[in-house]
């Protein structure tokens, strides 16, 4: 599938599911933020076996910022790895696709997310066991000390098959990261011994190029994104970190997304 269509479909999937979640609401803006990151991974970068989710040779995608679970489910659905029925069961009581993913290899969910700062250490364990690993972190998540324990370790051991993508949208639950906790994220990763790359996190082609390059030490891609990307009233709006959509808002959001100029 064309990357632009893959990403556009994902956005529509996310909004439609979030609307159907009704009063439960969903983490809509954090999901829209990492659409292209997941599109790049699931539409060309990740190696997976379409008929066997347990295939040990598969690449591992660890969504450490688990609140973007809806975006992960949308990517799995667009890649044909889960069924429409599965996708439509988002936030069903007792279902396999809750707000924050719960490890379920049969359903292609590699990691239980939700508690921030957990995914990188787990990804390192997978890489030490010989797997090719991609970990998606939030920039707010990088406030967690445990991230830096892991970053130092991976840098020290020069773990090769490990790539982190930071969804760098400059926002977190309480607002702008710049107002909450500032640090030079690029220098932090460099100091830990990582190759640091930067790109537009809404440019699938740029992401794919960065994700394809071989590296002999761990690599982090600082993917510059916009929280709530594609929906004017959600972009950089703190209240859409987790929210509920009305029918009118859904209609407006879908119309804004259709034929958008990102996800190329």
């Amino acid at each position: 599938m064309e990357d632009r269509i893959f990403a556009e479909n994902m956005r529509k999937d996310i909004l439609t599911s979030a609307f159907k979640a009704g009063n439960n609401g969903a983490h809509i803006a954090p999901s829209l933020s990492c659409v292209e990151i997941l599109a790049a991974l699931y539409n060309g970068i990740l190696k997976y076996n379409k008929s066997d989710p347990f295939d040990e040779a598969r690449d591992r995608l660890i969504l450490s910022k688990g609140h973007a679970g809806l975006a992960l489910y949308a990517a799995l659905y667009e890649a044909g790895l889960i069924s429409q029925k599965d996708y439509d069961s988002f936030e069903e009581n007792g279902g396999d696709f809750p707000g924050q993913p719960s490890k379920n290899i049969e359903k292609r969910i590699e990691f239980s997310g939700g508690s921030l700062g957990m995914g990188l250490s787990y990804g390192i364990g997978l890489a030490l066991a010989g797997r090719r690993v991609f970990v998606i972190l939030g920039d707010g998540e990088c406030n967690e000390g445990s991230i830096w324990e892991s970053a130092m370790f991976a840098g020290h051991r020069k773990i090769q098959d490990l790539t982190v993508i930071v969804d760098l949208n400059g926002m977190q639950a309480d607002g702008k990261s710049a107002d909450i906790l500032t640090f030079d994220i690029k220098k932090m990763w460099e100091a830990c011994g990582w190759i640091v790359e930067e790109c537009n996190g809404h440019d699938v082609q740029a992401l794919k190029i960065k994700l394809s390059q071989a590296h002999n030490q761990p690599k982090v891609i600082l993917a510059h994104t916009v929280k709530g990307k594609g929906v004017s009233f959600m972009e950089n709006a703190r209240e859409w970190h987790h929210g509920k959509l009305t029918q009118a808002q859904l209609t407006q959001a879908i119309s804004e997304i259709t034929g958008g100029d990102y996800g190329n």
């Binding site: 239980s112 250490s121 364990g125 997978l126 066991a129 892991s150 130092m152 370790f153």
Partner: protein, 324 residues
């Protein structure tokens, strides 16, 4: 299997940490999936021989216990059998949420080894005591808690942990040259308590380092014609419910642990007995509710009334009160 006294003396001399390290190295020779992790405490963990023998299967994370547990979980998800060791306090409280997330929620096959439980590191002081580890980890679903009584029991606990496909917290207590509880070979089955001595008036259920002291206390009580059964609860979770039910026939149940009286073995026994209509009184013996000034291991036992003499006295007083 015949076990020579000299071998038991070696296990005693090594202490539980030493036995853990040597046993794991031996197991690793037979099972290539076994790997070990330490957080800058390789020697203290008893893992120096493992590191030298299997450098490619040993990971030192630096002083980063939370990261160590996450890495262990990732390795476990790929079929490795990781043993991750650090002080009990750091394994359980510093990394509590990692234990809940990776061992409890995700059920990864990690063996978390906490050493220095109770007051084992006497002079190090409160930061290095583990008095709340059982309480914290017992509340986490899916985690087996093992607490061996001596060197031979530790050897068997490590073997059992490696064999079972489930997350385990292995609580190591005592010091080097620890007293010998098991003089001969025995069957160690996870979840099955072991009766070490029979008696009809009182049942003492003890765990870890306190099993030996409980046996000694029972001997003293026998001198006063009080008949005491002693049971080794080497598996604190899942607790041997049958053993607790059987103990309800006694006039008094006593639990002894080198741990807070809140949330540990005593609480586990009490939770099990709560619904029984016919049950005896239960004396919960554990550490006192304050953080003490540091001192040698024996001194700490004395301050907290955990010596055999003080345990026996407390039990005798309670028993006489009940029998009035």
């Amino acid at each position: 299997m015949e076990i020579k006294p000299s071998y038991l003396r070696t296990l005693s001399m090594l202490g539980q940490r030493g036995v853990f390290g040597t046993t794991l190295t031996q197991l690793a020779e037979q099972n290539e999936n076994i790997v070990a992790l330490a957080a800058d405490l390789c020697n203290t963990s008893g893992l120096d021989r493992f590191q030298k023998t299997f450098p490619q299967r040993f990971y030192n994370t630096g002083i980063a216990e939370q990261n160590m547990i996450g890495i262990a979980a990732g390795l476990a998800s790929c079929g490795k059998i990781p043993f991750a060791a650090t002080f009990s306090n750091f394994a359980s409280l510093r990394s509590c949420e990692q234990v809940r997330h990776f061992l409890g929620y995700m059920r990864e096959n990690v063996k978390l080894v906490g050493f220095g439980a109770g007051f084992s590191f006497g002079m190090f002081g409160t930061t290095h005591y583990a008095l709340e580890d059982i309480a914290a980890l017992r509340a986490i679903n899916n985690v087996i808690i093992l607490s061996p009584a001596d060197g031979l029991a530790t050897l068997k606990a490590v073997e059992a942990a490696a064999k079972i496909s489930a997350p385990v917290y292995l609580r190591l207590s005592g010091t080097m040259n620890n007293p010998i509880v098991y003089q001969q070979d025995f069957d160690f089955e996870i979840g099955k308590a072991i009766t070490l001595r029979n008696g009809s008036d009182i049942v003492i259920m003890a765990t870890g380092s306190m099993v030996y002291n409980a046996l000694k206390a029972a001997e003293k009580l026998e001198e006063d014609d009080i008949s005491v059964k002693v049971v080794d609860i080497h598996t604190v979770k899942p607790l041997d419910v049958q053993a607790v039910t059987a103990a309800c026939d006694a006039k008094l149940i006593v639990s002894v642990e080198e741990h807070s009286t809140i949330g540990g073995l005593g609480s586990a026994i009490e939770e099990t007995m709560a619904l029984k209509s016919r049950r005896p009184a239960h004396l919960i013996i554990g550490t006192k509710p304050f953080y003490p000034h540091a001192g040698e291991y024996a001194y700490m036992h004395d301050v907290h009334d955990l010596t055999p003499e003080k345990i026996a006295l407390k039990i005798k007083n309670t028993y006489e009160e009940i029998c009035k």
